[in-house]
Subunit: 297 residues, 2 copies
């Protein structure tokens, strides 16, 4: 496994792979890897000749009061998981290597960043767009793999790639969960035992909503949102940041009175939530497709 | 010469060249080509295996009251000049091909866009950044060639390429002039006979300034600017948009009282001007390097 700490090393390794006509699959991460990242690496391994993993806690996507400094890091464990998943190249730059000078260039994606985490974390997706754009230019991947836990991130990156004619295929991958349903996240490590047990409400409430939508009678968007909010506030100490139901991937609002069962066939919706347990903010979501019946996708 | 009107055709041609290990030199233009563009194509021809020319009048870089609709176009003449200069691939997309949907992604370069044409033409360089970024992703050039008549554009693109780690070398090329000194521009065709003759004041005043700076006594930044402004207002009907003296390529201001002869050795300055003759806005500039003496570069 080729560990590159500088852009020059990485570009050299990429050039060699390209010259041999090899396809490159890319998994950009902030490290502290878990089985969610593992599933991305395995998908990349399956599809490509060369797998590149990047590990970089990108300061540009953290707000001034967010958890940049205490974001968990464990390089040795990350490298072991990367090796397990048969990554070929691991790019681990320092902040100075990625940003040798203060960047004057900014990338903004309108509309799709207006709600959900874009509203709660101003500037977050500008930082994501900038670093992903830099990494795409450095790695020149054929395909890049992103987890659907960050469904809005996937939508933002797909829009950016489309608008800028970037020559990379974005591959969204399913959320990976603990046996009790909690979506894997590097931030789960922050949770106290109580909060860890309460945090199952996120996936449990999404599952309950899915059951109701798929097998029971009509529900409006507002009723869907209220069902989830009620479960969280009734059963846990979690503080709701947002629970929203939007069209996907445009992330445009729907009328609160819209009956999902009566939405246009082919419509896709996301139910997305962000909830704080103590100082730890967790997100989760479910995607639904309306056909003759509503399916979870 | 391979004429591509769609992105798919272009990407196919680029892929073929890449697979053969060929280097690509790229000249992005808005068409209505003149010898300025010719010099870029010849520079690209000299350095590369494959030369790609793009011709696209990009609506995103024109303001609402600018000359988008009447911007001159002559595809047949452009293709003849491209063939003369031995271009291999010419990309001529429609607006719908370049922007099939309204782009939600915007690219802004701070600081370097604040003055000169960035101040006179709000949004202009956002449009330039967007289209150049799209074209770089489509053409994947090793090198891209830009004329120094648009010195601010060169500075903006160099900053963007640096900040986004784009894998392309930017090659700035000298201004090409008519025998009487007027910088070549597609917009020169708009000038009346009187304005055409008056417009030589731009290069003449820059030349006079260069003589004074290189061979005569000390001058402050303010005196340099006033010399040029005086020549324009004394001798022509031209309406000054701006005359500025800035550091290059940062385009940061200098003190009006700065004596150029006493500036730090190695400093680079640009004297840039924009003047309207009738409804036609022309730009020109000169670059100076301070060593033991001041040199025009």
């Amino acid at each position: 496994m080729n560990i590159c700490r500088t852009k020059v090393q990485l570009k050299h390794a990429v050039k060699e792979a390209k010259q041999q006509g090899k396809s490159i699959g890319f998994v950009p991460t902030m490290g502290y890897l878990h089985e969610g990242h593992g599933s991305l690496l395995r998908a990349a391994r399956e599809d490509n000749d060369v797998v590149v993993l990047s590990i970089f806690v990108n300061p540009m996507q953290f707000g001034p009061n967010e958890d940049l400094d205490k974001y968990p890091r464990d390089e040795q464990r990350d490298l072991a998981l990367a090796a397990d998943c048969k990554a070929d190249i691991v790019f681990i730059p320092t902040v100075e290597e990625m940003y040798p000078t203060k960047p004057l260039t900014s990338i903004k994606v309108a509309d799709v960043t207006e709600r959900l985490c874009g509203a709660s974390r101003p500037g977050h997706f500008d930082g994501v767009g900038l670093v992903v754009s830099k990494l795409f230019h450095l790695v020149e991947p054929n395909s890049a793999y992103f987890g659907l836990k960050d469904a809005q991130q996937v939508a933002v990156i797909e829009q950016m790639v489309h608008d800028l004619d970037m020559n990379v295929k974005i591959v969204p991958c399913p959320i990976v969960r603990e046996p009790d349903g909690l979506a894997l996240s590097s931030r789960n490590v922050y949770l106290s035992a109580l909060h860890r047990s309460e945090a199952t409400v996120l996936s449990a409430s999404l599952n309950e909503l899915a059951e109701v939508l798929m097998f029971n009678g009509e529900m409006t968007a507002e009723q869907c949102i209220n069902l989830i909010k009620d479960r969280i506030t009734e059963n846990t100490s979690g503080e709701i940041d947002y629970v929203e139901l939007l069209q996907y991937p445009s992330l445009t609002p729907v009328s609160p009175k819209l009956s999902l069962q009566r939405a246009l066939s082919g419509s896709r919706f996301i139910v997305a939530l962000a909830v704080k347990f103590g100082s730890t903010r967790l997100i989760d979501n479910a995607l639904f497709q309306v056909e003759e019946v509503i399916e979870r996708v």
